[in-house]
Symmetry: D3
Subunit: 154 residues, 6 copies
């Protein structure tokens, strides 16, 4: 684990995204009130993402345990075929929170898969990536707008 | 949480995959002995995937806690740009292990991101999906070979 | 930890309840769409209860880790002053699931407290108790209908 | 999760309480050396409460993970029918520790239930509430002495 | 993780031991009521060992998660210089519980270290080993009575 | 849990060691590429040690949860009979990290046991101790070079 002992705590943020591509059957099931037999899908996914972000240091072997100031996760139907998930994490610490944001969107996406899978197992979780980070020694960073994967996404 | 109390335990397996698209800088860093400053990347990712699969029930709100018979995770450089990760999970239980396999490849992919991110943050985790499942009431299931995302792969 | 090795697995269920007494300010905040600034209160509480039930064996020192067949948690406004929470847990195992049901209602109640506390800290979690259990060597058991605490509850 | 990034770390404390109402059989079992077949009841409960307080952020979905300075949990026989549990938690952080104190007394109470339940399942956990908090933007707060529930308690 | 899917569940037990060598100062502190400033040392250690055994599968990367039938941990002053810890774990499963027994004695030993360390940091945890296992394909196994380390013991 | 609220955060480090005594069969198995059927032994052990150190506060009842700056774990064949494990942990906090370092070497040692046990169960984990600590109110501390146990170790 990289030694962060000489770094100074600064405000850091990270935003990540993920897409869940649904089959028509799953879309139909989810949009029927956006509740599967397992409950409200998108809100459950958001909550799962928040809770997973707090446990990133347990999952990712070399991540540092750090106090987090806030975690926001949003999951919404982007169009008939896709759910778009974004997460923003903030902390004032000596390491960044990129992994926390990525873990949040990922576990939110897995939760959607779990809640939709009885209606169809051919969902695909796509294009999990960091959108932006701020703070820290390496400074601010922003993903290029268009990648081969997201270009296909309106 | 769906009641699985009337189901009979049967042998169940699930196999999932994920791809990590690397930037040239990350590829260079990883293939320089396949070790980042944080250690051996692919083996660390495999181990993280195995350990995460065992904790799927903690992460995914409505997953059942079940004993697992085996978890295999493989991460390898597919070509200069991509790591391919697969996971197969087996159990004899009343629920399937799709989520365990998907969680394993996902956390393995996140671990690769974590270990490569100092060399470049523009990695993308792509196309996490179930490849195959066997056993259970809904029977065997296999993903169609080509999807819009993986067709672009190889 | 009591040795359960000679017991035979049987179907077991347990149902527990808890009450959260709200102050008028919290009631007003919660019923304004039943969402606090932190999100949908009752559904978040239900989910927290489900997730906590799965981790009962980590929290209660002498509880056995067991596979669970189902966990149902329901939180609803009982009247203007109280939220009523019930949880039913089922398993086929060598030990009962009383503690899992009690843990579920308890953590659900704590979650409601957490989400309402900015509107008023004088909430009280009342009368957490087992309502019923079935299965196991000690057989079925049902709480007497009225206790001094719940008699006050309509 | 509420953003606490602009708050300044201050010393914060919170004290909570819970009551466990015992049946005569359980009282007899516990006071027979205050040990059940499962071990020393009150001390086990105190320890379980301490350990649970450290994991509050995992259990309560929107709680922040924070370093804690101290956790004290006390469980004692109040009279022949009741165990009284109190917990005080301290930290220097940007969020309060009310939920940590409440989680501590709650899990301590559940542990007493678990250790006594073979002697009688009709125990009731009563009147879990915050007694006092200090520090933070909202300042100090103290519960009113008497509530309908605790008035019955000497 | 080794596939245990073709094995049949059988009764399995494992017993392990560990020794904690104390300095005179720590011995004096512990035997002064066997309570450190942190509480009753030996009982806290036993409880920590039990709780850790249940989480062995989280700590040891390739251990299987399995239901456990019982965990017994005993810590006692062997003589003025040493605490002796033993743990016995039982299950009916497809894998053994050697690691659970070893984890229990180890974490119990670490807990004693933690509670005594303010009185002296020169404690040594010695000779953690498996004493006996029964059941499973490889059959029963018993440690040879005397090893170079334990011969020095008693 | 001891109140550390009046202490000032300072840089703290702790280094611990453990030894795993192998039987000839296990040595042969491990040195055959240093991979057991379960994978690369020493690297898996190092990773398990790092991950366990982060969870020390969950395992050791009275340990404080603290952010950690770095964790280094090294496991290497010392001679034909022994693996030597060391761990160094650093933080800037109000409590020391002795327990984190000890937990790291301990879980690393248990992992080696787990991975070698199919080749022979007579391994012994020996002489787990603190080598050095720096920082904090009690100042720096260093273990005496030779103890009865380690004198036997070259």
């Amino acid at each position: 684990m990289v030694d962060v002992g000489r770094k100074r705590p600064t405000l850091r943020t990270a935003t990540a995204e993920a897409w869940v591509r649904l089959s028509p059957q799953v879309t139909a099931a989810l949009t029927a009130g956006a509740r599967s037999a397992k409950g409200p899908v998108l809100e459950t996914a958001e909550l799962a993402g928040i809770m997973a972000a707090k446990r990133t240091f347990e999952l990712i072997p070399l991540c540092h345990p750090i106090p987090l100031d806030s975690i926001d996760v949003t999951a919404r139907m982007f169009d008939d075929e896709r759910v778009h998930i974004t997460a923003t994490v903030r902390c004032r610490a000596v390491t960044g929170v990129e992994m926390e944001a990525l873990t949040a969107v990922t576990v939110a996406a897995l939760t959607i898969y779990d809640m939709g899978k009885s209606a169809g197992k051919d969902m695909i979780i796509e294009s999990i990536r960091l959108l932006e980070k701020t703070g820290g020694k390496s400074g601010d960073w922003r993903a290029e707008r268009q990648t081969s994967t997201t270009r296909a996404s309106p």
